[in-house]
């Protein structure tokens, strides 16, 4: 067996260690089982009470292409991606040279010692792991060897940093859903690696993890897609129809996974929810529209290319006024783009999807707990407003694990909107028109197919119609109908989730952002405040905007609109809807496929200070 060479440690044994405050980048090959190792590491750290986040940067590939997993530990509780790498794990020969360059000065590189090491830097510490030898010694079934090889770095990190082996074992059992044999095989590999590291490497003095309290208690570790699926199931979902597309597939698969546990009728043992894998996205949204029209809560989940295909149905749902919900887990476009990288590039497309004059309600969840809540709220809004509601998540929020508040159970009655029953019709003999604005809020009354009354029926169409749903090409009918739809959109402004405001006394610089940028924004604000620049923050949770957005802009001298796309799409909408204040709005749009970092935001704000914008 080869022995690791420990070279030129930079950190002196008596220097203060970075405790619970550094970033690990794990470079592996896709399909090599590293997802298990990385997930186990993240969970073990989470259970030790340490604020962490994990970002999976994976290729559009099944096996072989390089994958990186970045785990950040933050004693201060910052949960955004960090750009700096302190500890670099190298398991992939194809990228080892560039991976080794990534470690920050003073950092460490842990590598599979069978990989070639071209240039050794003087400013980092190298540890070579005898992965092949350790795997061979473990005498594992041949087929499993490749999959457990990644457990070697889990063990080495455990010893080096002080991750509790009991938590690794518990995380393995959790990962394998209690299957002790599978967990045991992996744990054996971890223990061998710990043993080797203990004999040849020892604990590192520069980077340490320590169990802490005060942050993770009572929290859960979950990805946004799972949260959204649970929220939909708890929110009355009756039909989920979908077509596979990264990064939304795991949301539909989670619905499928939890449907039997959560939505089997205890009295009959039968299902109260249906999941259909459709032939394409057009059929997926078509089924949602059919079910919504009939009176069921239906949802599809997709990503950019999917909403392009759903465009015609989006217009129909808007104009024929059919409740429908689309979850768009955004990825990088245009076109196939970067299918496994995150983005917020569908804001404009979702808001205006459809030909002619269409605008839709769009929700922006920022964390898993909000994904859960919006699972129900999206249905409430769709049925109250009788329209299509988008929920825009993204790959970072949807597929990466996040520390979250546990989901709040709600037994509040579902808001089913204005639906006339047979008894209602009996009372209103002669006075019902499907598209008649009785209450002045733009929302008309509807009936559901199957209502046992001979006045219940109406004809739904995407063509021009009058207040009774009859075909009409009369200019007045067309105009009146669109005017009513505008009135309905004004009602929507008051019904959608309000922005979340965090304002600091005396601050005059504002930030408007949305969705998964939240963690980066919060960290950037803390760092800016430490340098004497306090900021106000409005986290937008929905379109259309309400008056609180206008008031917020008014209260600030300048407002940065921060989003993860190239064109500044939210900035575009805000300047259109608040033209009088457009000059105050400065676009800060970043589009590189990675979750936003605080460093980027701080840098941009400081640049603006230099340019005397502030």
């Amino acid at each position: 067996m080869s022995v690791a060479v420990r070279e030129a440690p930079i950190v002196k044994p008596d220097a203060p260690a970075a405790v619970n405050d550094f970033a690990i980048n794990v470079a592996t090959a896709n399909g090599s089982g590293s997802q298990t190792s990385n997930g186990v590491l993240l969970r073990a750290l989470f259970k030790m009470g340490i604020p962490i986040n994990g970002k999976n940067l994976f290729p559009s590939n099944i096996q072989g292409l390089p994958t990186w997993y970045i785990i950040r530990l933050s004693k201060d509780g910052f949960l955004a991606r960090r750009e700096m790498t302190d500890i670099q794990i190298c398991m992939n020969g194809r990228t080892v040279a560039e991976d080794m360059e990534r470690a920050a000065p003073g950092g460490i590189v842990i590598y599979d010692d069978s990989l070639p090491v071209a240039n050794r830097r003087k400013d980092v510490t190298y540890y070579g792991m005898p992965v092949k030898d350790l795997v061979k010694e473990a005498k594992l079934p041949h087929a499993l060897r490749d999959y457990v090889a990644n457990m070697v770095y889990v063990g080495v990190l455990a010893e080096l940093l002080g991750i509790e082996p009991e938590e690794i074992e518990a995380a393995l059992l959790h990962h394998f859903e209690g299957k002790e044999k599978a967990a045991g095989l992996n744990m054996e590999m971890v223990e061998r690696a710990i043993g080797w590291a203990s004999a040849h490497v020892g604990q590192h003095h520069g980077y340490r993890v320590e169990r802490i309290t005060g942050f993770n208690e009572g929290k859960i570790l979950v990805d946004g897609n799972t949260a959204a699926a649970l929220g939909a199931l708890a929110g009355g979902l009756s039909l989920a129809s979908w077509y596979p597309i990264t990064p939304s597939s795991s949301m539909a698969e989670s619905v499928e996974k939890y449907a039997s546990t959560l939505r089997t009728d205890p009295d009959t043992g039968k299902a109260t929810v249906a999941v259909i894998q459709a032939e394409d996205e057009l059929a997926a949204i078509g089924m949602v529209v059919g079910a919504g029209w009939t009176g069921a809560r239906a949802m599809t989940c997709t990503s950019g290319p999917g909403i392009s295909l759903m465009s015609e149905f989006a217009g129909l749902a808007y104009f024929a006024e059919v409740p429908a919900v689309i979850w768009d887990i955004q990825r990088m476009g245009p076109s196939t783009g970067l299918p496994t990288r995150t983005s917020q590039g569908d804001i404009l497309a979702a808001y205006y999807l459809g030909h002619g004059d269409t605008r839709h309600v769009v929700l922006f969840p920022a964390n898993p707990a909000e994904c859960f809540d919006f699972g129900r709220i999206a249905f409430d809004l769709a049925e109250e407003l009788q329209t299509l509601v988008f929920v825009l998540s993204d790959l970072d929020l949807g597929m990466n694990a996040h520390i979250s508040e546990p989901f709040a159970y709600s037994d509040a009655p579902f808001k089913r909107g204005k639906v006339l029953s047979a008894e209602d019709l009996e009372e209103r003999q002669g006075s019902w028109g499907r598209y008649m604005d009785v209450d002045g809020d733009g929302i008309a009354y509807r009936t559901l197919p199957g209502t046992r009354h001979n006045m219940a029926a109406y004809f739904t169409r995407g063509t021009g119609h009058n207040e009774y749903g009859y075909y009409s090409e009369r200019p007045e009918d067309w105009e009146q109908n669109l005017e009513r739809l505008k009135r309905k959109f004004e009602t929507a402004r008051q019904l959608v989730p309000r922005p979340v405001l965090d304002e600091v006394e005396g601050a005059q610089v504002g930030i408007i952002s949305l969705g998964s940028n939240h963690n980066g924004v919060e960290e950037a604000r803390a760092r800016l405040e430490a340098t004497g620049l306090a900021t106000n923050y409005l986290r937008l949770r929905a379109l259309p905007i309400d008056e609180s957005v206008r008031d917020f802009i008014e209260r600030n001298r300048i407002v940065f609109v921060i989003e993860a796309n190239s064109d500044g799409q939210l900035h575009n909408i805000l300047t259109t809807e608040e033209p009088a204040q457009a000059l105050k709005l400065v676009s800060m749009a970043k589009c590189d496929g990675l979750p936003l970092s605080a460093r980027y935001i701080v840098g941009e704000v400081e640049k603006a200070v230099e340019e005397a914008l502030i």
């Binding site: 039968k270 029209w293 546990p406 219940a456 109406y458």
Partner: protein
């Protein structure tokens, strides 16, 4: 399903089914009408609408429990013209099947009629058509097939005959798609072909379709009097009248009508899911509609010989429908109260515990 030969007189069956002024739920036929048609005078589609009105009235259907869906095109306008007490949805071009799928899952107790055309089904909607068939969606899928695009003024559809001539398009040099063949290949459980100008057969097939448990595909040749009603087209009145070959004389006996049995040779009775039965008096003694291979052969024969072979080509009452496969509650999902549409607090907490 069960099939057996049974003897009876046609006259007796007719007597039993003879319409009165009001039907069994006390309604006159006018109650089954819709809005006035805006299609061209003489359009085959209007004849089909009338057959739907007749069949629904004679069967005493409760229109409030019926839903009419369509795509886009002349045919897809027709749901406005019949069953005025039924909810209708004129959806998107080629996308009626997906809307129907959603509606049926939402409320599986509804009787759903989907109306489409040859462009709507065989061109833009061929994918959704075949997948609805593959899922055995409990849907009556009517294709009003005239081989031409009407609303856009006379373009060839995918069912147009090879070598056919149209005024603005010239000669069609591509072979047609055959709706029945496509349905059969996608594992349809009820495939029939009929002719808009054959009211008796069409009504019997419609009634049988209402009683079939899965998807019932009816390819109905329905001449376009404006763009495609000339004798060189297999979708014209002239061709249909001259070349229609019926596989059998059809009669449908609903469950609530007494069946009188008398001597009659060569009949096949197919019992349908909802208790009714369709009686086929064979003209071609070789065709057994429960035999898939035979159905393929009949369709191929009609293509080879350029004959309009009509009747019930294939039926299979044994396959589960989509809603059966989904194992949904007997109560339609739309009728479930809130507490049935969400997990219990304990069930959600159980899931939470696995994420902590």
């Amino acid at each position: 399903m069960s099939t057996r030969t049974r003897t009876r007189t046609e006259a007796a069956a007719r007597r039993a089914a003879r319409p009165a002024k009001t039907n069994r739920i006390g309604l006159e036929k006018t109650a089954y009408r819709g809005r006035p048609s805006t299609l061209c005078k003489g359009c085959g589609h209007d004849s089909i609408s009338q057959r739907i009105v007749n069949a629904a009235w004679e069967m005493g259907l409760d229109q409030t429990q019926v839903v009419k869906l369509s795509g886009i095109g002349c045919s897809s306008k027709t749901p406005a013209y019949y069953l005025g007490w039924s909810h209708g949805f004129n959806s998107l071009h080629g996308r009626m099947p997906s809307v129907a799928t959603g509606a049926i899952i939402a409320n599986a107790s509804l009787e759903v009629i989907g109306v489409s055309g040859d462009g709507d089904t065989a061109s833009i909607g061929i994918g959704q058509f075949k997948h609805a068939v593959r899922r055995n969606l409990p849907l009556i899928y009517i294709v009003e097939n005239n081989g031409v695009y009407g609303l856009t003024k006379g373009q060839f559809s995918a069912t147009a005959d090879e070598g056919q001539f149209l005024k603005y398009q010239g000669v069609n040099d591509l072979p047609p798609l055959d709706i029945c063949m496509e349905a059969l290949t996608a594992n349809a459980t009820f495939v029939a072909r009929s002719f808009a100008g054959d009211p008796k057969q069409l009504e019997a097939l419609l009634k049988a379709a209402f009683n079939h448990r899965g998807i019932a595909v009816l390819d109905i040749v329905s001449p376009c009097v404006t763009f495609n009603n000339h004798d060189t087209s297999t979708k014209s009145y002239g061709f249909g009248r001259a070349n229609e070959i019926k596989l059998h004389d059809l009669n449908f006996v609903p469950e609530f009508e007494e069946i009188e049995i008398e001597d009659y040779e060569d009949e096949l009775e197919v019992e349908l899911h909802d208790g009714g039965s369709i009686i086929l008096k064979k003209i071609d003694p070789d065709h057994d509609p429960t035999d898939r291979t035979a159905a393929y052969n009949v369709i191929q024969q009609s293509l080879d010989e350029q004959k309009l072979i009509t009747g019930l080509l294939y039926i299979n009452e044994g396959e589960p429908t989509l809603t059966e496969l989904l194992n949904l509650t007997d109560t339609p999902l739309t009728h479930l109260p809130d507490e049935k549409l969400r997990p219990s607090r304990e069930a959600l907490e159980g899931v939470m515990a696995t994420l902590a």
